[in-house]
Symmetry: C2
Subunit: 436 residues, 2 copies
C-alpha cells in the first residue's frame, strides 16, 4: 500500500460524453486506490473533445479538455477511446497502436467492422488492445470467455446484448403493450433514442454478436457475417402465443459452433427474436439489463448478467481494462497474445438447427390438421406440439405448431409450403426457439 517509485502513467481520454465523463471522474476521485492497485499513479493527461466548453455529466479540470487528440495520443502511456463511431476513432487508435501505446476502447461498431485490422496491428507492434466495455457494458464477459474458459471449448453463446430491445420486449410481455407503445415508453424514459433503428433493427446486437463470437471461437468475425432480424415485426399477438406456449420473446445474439450438411465445421452468427422457455435463466432478464449465456463442453451452462449500458457501469469495465494494462506496464511481462486463430469459418444461417413456433390461420374444416402435419413430415421436420386455438390470431381457426430441432433450411421450406396450402389463410408468425 506504499507509493512506489514508478513514474506516473499518462492516460489520454478520447471522448467526454456519458462514459468518458465517468471515466474522468473515477480517475480523479479514486486516484489513491488506483495508484495502490497499479503500483504507479494514473495521471489523466487530457480529454479530447469536439467542444471543450460543452456541459458535461462530470466536469474535470477545464484545462484538461483539448481538441488536439493527436498530440494527446502521442504523449500517452494508455489511450482510452470512448468517442464511438468509425472516424476519427479508427485513425487515432491506429496512431496509438503503431507507436506501441496501449489502447482501451468501448467502440463496438469499430471492432465489429475493423477489429481484424486493429488486432493485427496490435499483435505486430506488441501494443495492448482491450475492449471489455464494447460488449454488454459492465458485465465481465470477455475475460471469462478468453481466460476462464481457456481450458474448455465454447459451443454456443446467446446474449441479450441490447438493453433497449429487452426493455421493449419486457414491457410488451408484462403489460401486453404493443411494440409502438413500448417503444414510445422506452423513448420517454431515455432507454431508446429518437432514431431507434440501430437498436430495434438488431444492428447493435449484431455488432456484439461478432465480437462475442470472435472471443468465444478465436476467429475474427465481422458484422456482415451476422444475419440480422430486429423486433419491429413482433406483435402483442406473438407475445400472447409465446406466453401461452410457455415462452418469453427475447432478442438474442447467437453464435454457435455447427457442422454444415457437407461436413464443414464452422460458426453461425445470427440475431433474431427468439422464444426462450420461461424457466430458462435468460427469460428472467428484465428491463434494460443484459445477459450472456454461454455453453461450454465441460463447464456446461453459464450466465453473466448485469447493466448493458450507462455511464458508470460502462466506465467500470473501461477501468478494469485500464488497471490490467497499467499493472502490466509497471510490472513488466509480455503483452497478452492474441487467442490462437481457429479455423471456424462463418457458415450460412440456413445451416443452423433450431426449433420454431409457427402460428397459422387456417380454414375451419375437417382434414386441415392432417394436411398441415403432412407438410412438416414431408420436409423431415418433426412436430413437438400442435394446438388448435379458437378465436385467437384473427378469424377462422388458429394452429400453433412447435417443431423439434431441425435445420433452418428445412424449416424455411416448410413455411413456404404452408403458405402455398389452400387451407392456410395466413402464416401469422414464425418464431425461433432456443434453450429447450
Amino acid at each position: 500500500m506504499t507509493t512506489t517509485a514508478h513514474a506516473p502513467l499518462r492516460v489520454a481520454l478520447l471522448g467526454g460524453g456519458t462514459v468518458g465523463s465517468q471515466v474522468a471522474r473515477i480517475l480523479t476521485e479514486d486516484a489513491a486506490v488506483l495508484r495502490d492497485r497499479v503500483g504507479a499513479p494514473l495521471e489523466l493527461a487530457g480529454i479530447a473533445v469536439r467542444t471543450p466548453d460543452a456541459p458535461r455529466d462530470w466536469q474535470a479540470d477545464p484545462a484538461l479538455y483539448t481538441t488536439d487528440a493527436e498530440t494527446l495520443v502521442d504523449g500517452a502511456d494508455v489511450v482510452i477511446e470512448l468517442m464511438g463511431g468509425i472516424e476519427p476513432a479508427r485513425t487515432l487508435i491506429r496512431r496509438a497502436l503503431e507507436a506501441g501505446i496501449a489502447v482501451v476502447t468501448g467502440n463496438k461498431a469499430l471492432l465489429a467492422q475493423h477489429g481484424e485490422e486493429l488486432y493485427d496491428l496490435a499483435s505486430r507492434t506488441g501494443a495492448q488492445l482491450s475492449f471489455e466495455a464494447a460488449v454488454a457494458g459492465a458485465i465481465p464477459i470477455l475475460r471469462p470467455l478468453r481466460d476462464s474458459l481457456a481450458g474448455d471449448r465454447v459451443t454456443r453463446v446467446m446474449g441479450i446484448a441490447n438493453g433497449t430491445t429487452n426493455f421493449i420486449l419486457d414491457r410488451m410481455d408484462t403489460e401486453g403493450a404493443s411494440f409502438e407503445d413500448a417503444l414510445a415508453e422506452a423513448q420517454r424514459l431515455g432507454y431508446a433514442e429518437a432514431d431507434p433503428s440501430a437498436d430495434v433493427g438488431g444492428d447493435d446486437a449484431a455488432a456484439k454478436a461478432a465480437i462475442l463470437a470472435t472471443l468465444a471461437f478465436g476467429t475474427s468475425y465481422t458484422l456482415d457475417q451476422v444475419s440480422v432480424e430486429g423486433i419491429t415485426g413482433i406483435t402483442a399477438a406473438d407475445n400472447e402465443a409465446a406466453t401461452e406456449a410457455g415462452y418469453a420473446i427475447k432478442l438474442l445474439a447467437i453464435a454457435e459452433r455447427v457442422t454444415a450438411e457437407d461436413g464443414t465445421a464452422g460458426a453461425i452468427l445470427r440475431v433474431h427474436p427468439t422464444l426462450v422457455p420461461r424457466q430458462h435463466p435468460l427469460a428472467s432478464v428484465h428491463g434494460a439489463f443484459n445477459a450472456v449465456f454461454v455453453e461450454a463442453e465441460n463447464a456446461g451452462e453459464l450466465m453473466f448478467y448485469g447493466p448493458g449500458a450507462g455511464g458508470a457501469p460502462t466506465a467500470s469495465a473501461v477501468m478494469g481494462d485500464t488497471v490490467a494494462i497499467a499493472q502490466r506496464i509497471v510490472r513488466g511481462g509480455p503483452a497478452r497474445l492474441r487467442t490462437p486463430v481457429a479455423a471456424l469459418p462463418a457458415l450460412a444461417p440456413a445451416e443452423a438447427h433450431t426449433s420454431c413456433l409457427v402460428v397459422l390461420r387456417v380454414a375451419d374444416q375437417p382434414g386441415v390438421l392432417r394436411r398441415v402435419a403432412a407438410v412438416f413430415e414431408d420436409h423431415g421436420v418433426s412436430i413437438e406440439t400442435l394446438r388448435q386455438v379458437q378465436g385467437a390470431d384473427g378469424p377462422g381457426a388458429s394452429l400453433r405448431v412447435i417443431t423439434h430441432r431441425a435445420r433452418q433450411r428445412d424449416l424455411d421450406a416448410v413455411v413456404a409450403a404452408l403458405g402455398a396450402l389452400d387451407v392456410v389463410h395466413d402464416v401469422v408468425s414464425v418464431l425461433r426457439v432456443e434453450g429447450n
Copy 2:
C-alpha cells in the same frame, strides 16, 4: 498454431476422484488444443491417489497412478490439488509453493482455514496459486472479482454457493415439500450426501463466503469470521409465508462492506436463509445451480450463474487456471501480485443492516396490532408492511411483519421484546430479507 520449441510442462495431479478424473481426461483428450493455447505441451506426469487400482470415472494410463505424492510434486512444473480436506493437501501444497512450483487447487475448506498462510508463502517464493474451482464450481467468479472489477469498488457479494441446499429449498418452494422430504429426494438423486450436515448446516457455504470476501475486499478472512445459520429450521410454513409476501427463500453467503455504529469501516460475513424478492435474479436460480450476485459502486449489479459442482464443470475451472499459469511459465513475466490488502476488519454480524419478515402467532383480541407495532417503534425499527392472516401459522391470529432495513442488533432486540409480550403466543419465524 505451430508446435513451439518450449519443453513440455509437467503437470502433477493430486487426487483421482470425480474432478481429478475429469482433469486427467481433458489433459489427455484435449492435449493438442491445450498445447496450442499454452505454447508448450501439458504433460500429465502422474496422478497421486490412495489406491492406484480403484475404479475411476475416467481411467488414465494405469502407469500414471502413484501413491508417492511427494516425488510427483517435486518433479512438477504445475501441481493440481484435488484431494480435498486439510491433510495431506496442505503439506503437499506447501511443499510445492516452497519450491516455487505453481499450484492450482479447488480445496475450499483448506483455503477458508489456511488461505492466509498459503497466500503468504506463494508471495514469498513467487509461486503461482490459483483457485477458481474452489468457489461456485465452473462459474468464473474469482477472475471477474479480481481483474474485471479492479477499477471499481465491490460493496457486496451475495452467493447461492451451495447446490445441495438450493436444490432442497427449490423443491420446498415448487412442490410445497417439507425439509425432510426435500432432503430425502436430494439424497436419492445424488445431490446430497448420506451425512448432509456440512451442506444443510451452512458450513460449506461459509467457507465460500470467506473466499469470496477475501477476493472482493482484498483482505484475508477465515471461516471462523463467518456467522452461520443453515436451513434445517426452514419449514413449509416459512416458505408459504415468504411466497405470500412475494419472496423466495435462498441460503445466501453474504459479504458486505459496512460501517459499524462506532464508525469503523469493515466487512460482515454471514450465511443464513434469506428472503429474496421473486423478481430478483437470485430468485430464478433453480435446482442445484449456483450464482454469485455482486454489487459494485460503478458497475452496479452483476450476476454470475452456472453449475456449482460436478466433475466436468469443476474441471473446466481447474483447466482455466492451469492454462493461465502455463502461459505465464512459457511466455515469462512476473507472477500476479496478491491483491493489496485493505484494512477491512471482520465486524460482528450484529452490525449488519437488513430487513426482516417476522411471523407471530398472537392473541385474537383488540389492541394487539398497536402493541406489536409499538415494540418495533420503541427500538427504532420501522415497519414496511404488517398483515394479519387468519388460520395460518397455527391457532389464533397470525401477524406477518416486514420491516424496513435496520441494524441486526435492533432487530434482535425487537424479536426478544416481542417474545416477552403477553399477547404474543409464539414467534413463529424470523427471516432476513435481501435484495429489496
